[in-house]
């Protein structure tokens, strides 16, 4: 059902956890699915220096969270804000059709945290 990249990120998710000294935090949830995600980011010089997440959801939601946090870590805020669902799905090497939408959660979470950071700046 899932490819090896997805399975690897589901089984060994990167950047799982919380962060005491986060610059900003976001909580997002997909109404559709009931999946929810909490994202912590630490920003230094407009760059995402560290990122952590906690995700409640299916394998696709967890794998997307993992890979998406990897994708933005080390990027500038401006770059990170360009992240889309398609980027995540592509980086994962594809998801089953009915699971594509699950990748949206991770994007929403990351963009939400960035937005919170920019508001409070």
């Amino acid at each position: 059902m899932y490819n090896d990249v997805v399975m690897d990120h589901f089984q060994h998710p990167r950047n799982v956890g919380d962060m005491a000294d986060a610059t900003s935090v976001a909580e997002v949830g997909s109404q559709e699915c009931g999946d929810t995600m909490k994202v912590f980011i630490k920003i230094k010089d407009d760059v995402i220096d560290d990122i952590k997440f906690q995700t409640y959801g299916c394998a696709a939601a967890i794998a997307s969270s993992s890979i998406a946090t990897e994708m933005v870590k080390g990027k500038t805020v401006t770059e990170a804000k360009k992240l889309t669902k398609n980027d995540v799905v592509t980086e994962l090497g594809g998801l089953p059709d009915q699971k594509i939408h699950c990748s949206l959660l991770a994007v929403d979470g990351i963009l939400g945290a960035i937005e919170a950071y920019e508001k409070n700046k």
Binding site: Y2, M7, F10, Q11, Q54, G57, Q98
Partner: protein, 384 residues
């Protein structure tokens, strides 16, 4: 890695004795049961012997057993056949809210023809309330359909009492016994049940064969019209090999039901007690005692069912989940929702259904795997 199959409610393997009984009917004794030459007559004999075995196991007459292509067809035939045959008398049907889709969906289809459907609520263990049933029956009610045992949570309904209530009001009674047959005793010899659905692949016969019990004298419309097979009530050249297998499966089930159901109940209860004791935020779905001997259904809070399933699969354990995110995000199963639980519980469900080859060692392995999985996933999760 040896695999542990704990999804017998989804489908069972074919038992060696069943396959052996079927083998001669593939390429040697392959006659059409309606033909008069000797090949055809031999096929016919095998067909009638299977019917006899099934009738005997259920306390029914052979003339009350009609072969079908499986549980879904039996349910559709019973529901639509009863409804269409009585649409002059009324267009109201009563079912429970946790019926299988093979009952739910034909009922909803019938709305197109003007039928109204009442769905009886169930309590937190999945039981219907007989008083609700009494109150729901109207003058234009033509059919009540309540499943014998639920496929997800294993809860066993008081169908005999429900059938009596229906009969008192002159209403036909159908029960989907697909999950119950072969597991718990069913005796139709003195029953008020008019129609009862059976599926082969839940009791170690093959997929694609089943039966509908129709009590002598009960008239319903045909679903599959055509040839004169099954005494003019179900057209289609008979699936002799599979039917012979079904007959054999019933014989086996009947002969060892008592000991096997005891054995499974012990294993089932061990699995339930171990998990509830050892894994925090876990609960059992379905009735604690009025449940199928092979059915266990847990909910684990804050963990997604699909995620659990994939972890178990990787550890060599096959089971299923009642959270529906597998096909499209339509939320957790309507059965679990009907029990009145919150999303964070319903969505973390796992159904483990034991079978003839399940051992005590398997139970220990599964408990260990569940613990490990919950630990892993709860580290990742965003807790509610």
């Amino acid at each position: 890695m040896s695999k542990i199959y704990m999804d017998h409610a989804a489908t069972t393997y074919v038992k060696p004795e069943v396959l052996e009984a079927m083998m001669p009917y593939f390429s040697e004794k392959f006659g059409n049961g309606s033909s008069i030459h000797s090949e055809g007559r031999e096929a016919k004999k095998a067909l009638e012997a299977a019917r006899q075995s099934i009738a005997q196991a259920l306390g029914a007459k052979p003339t009350e057993i009609y072969f079908t292509s499986g549980g879904s067809e039996s349910d559709n035939w019973a529901i639509k056949g009863a409804a269409f045959s009585r649409m002059d008398q009324g267009k109201h049907i009563i079912i429970s809210a946790i019926e299988h889709h093979a009952v739910l969906d034909p009922c909803h289809y019938l709305k197109k023809f003007g039928f109204e459907i009442t769905e009886l609520k169930v309590d937190e263990d999945g039981l219907i309330n007989l008083d609700d049933l009494k109150k729901a029956i109207r003058d234009d009610t033509v059919l009540v359909s309540i499943m014998t045992a639920n496929n997800e949570i294993g809860t066993i309904q008081p169908v005999e009492e429900a059938a009596k209530i229906a009969h008192e009001k002159g209403v036909l009674f159908h029960t989907d016994a697909v999950q119950a047959v072969g597991q718990i005793p069913i005796d139709l010899s003195n029953s008020a049940i008019d129609l009862l659905s059976i599926s082969g692949h839940k009791l170690y016969a093959l997929n694609g064969v089943g039966a509908l019990y129709i009590k002598d004298g009960v008239e319903i419309d045909n679903l599959i019209h055509g040839g004169a097979q099954e005494r003019n009530r179900r057209a289609g050249t008979e699936n002799i090999a599979c039917i012979v297998g079904l007959g054999k499966a019933f014989e086996l089930a009947k002969s060892n039901m008592e000991s096997e159901s005891k054995r499974l109940t012990v294993l089932r209860d061990k699995l339930i007690q171990s998990v509830l004791a050892e894994i925090p935020e876990s609960r059992l779905n379905g009735h604690p005692t009025k449940r199928l001997p092979n059915n266990v259904n847990f909910s684990f809070k804050n963990v997604d069912g699909e995620a659990i399933l994939i972890n178990l699969d990787l550890m060599g354990i096959a089971c299923s989940t009642g959270s529906a995110c597998t096909s499209a995000c339509t939320g957790p199963s309507y059965v679990l929702q009907a029990l009145g639980m919150e999303y964070r519980w319903t969505n973390g469900s796992v159904r483990l259904t034991l079978g003839a080859r399940t051992t005590e060692e398997d139970i220990d392995t599964v408990v260990g795997a569940l613990k490990e999985t919950m630990n892993r996933l709860r580290m990742i999760t965003f807790k509610a």
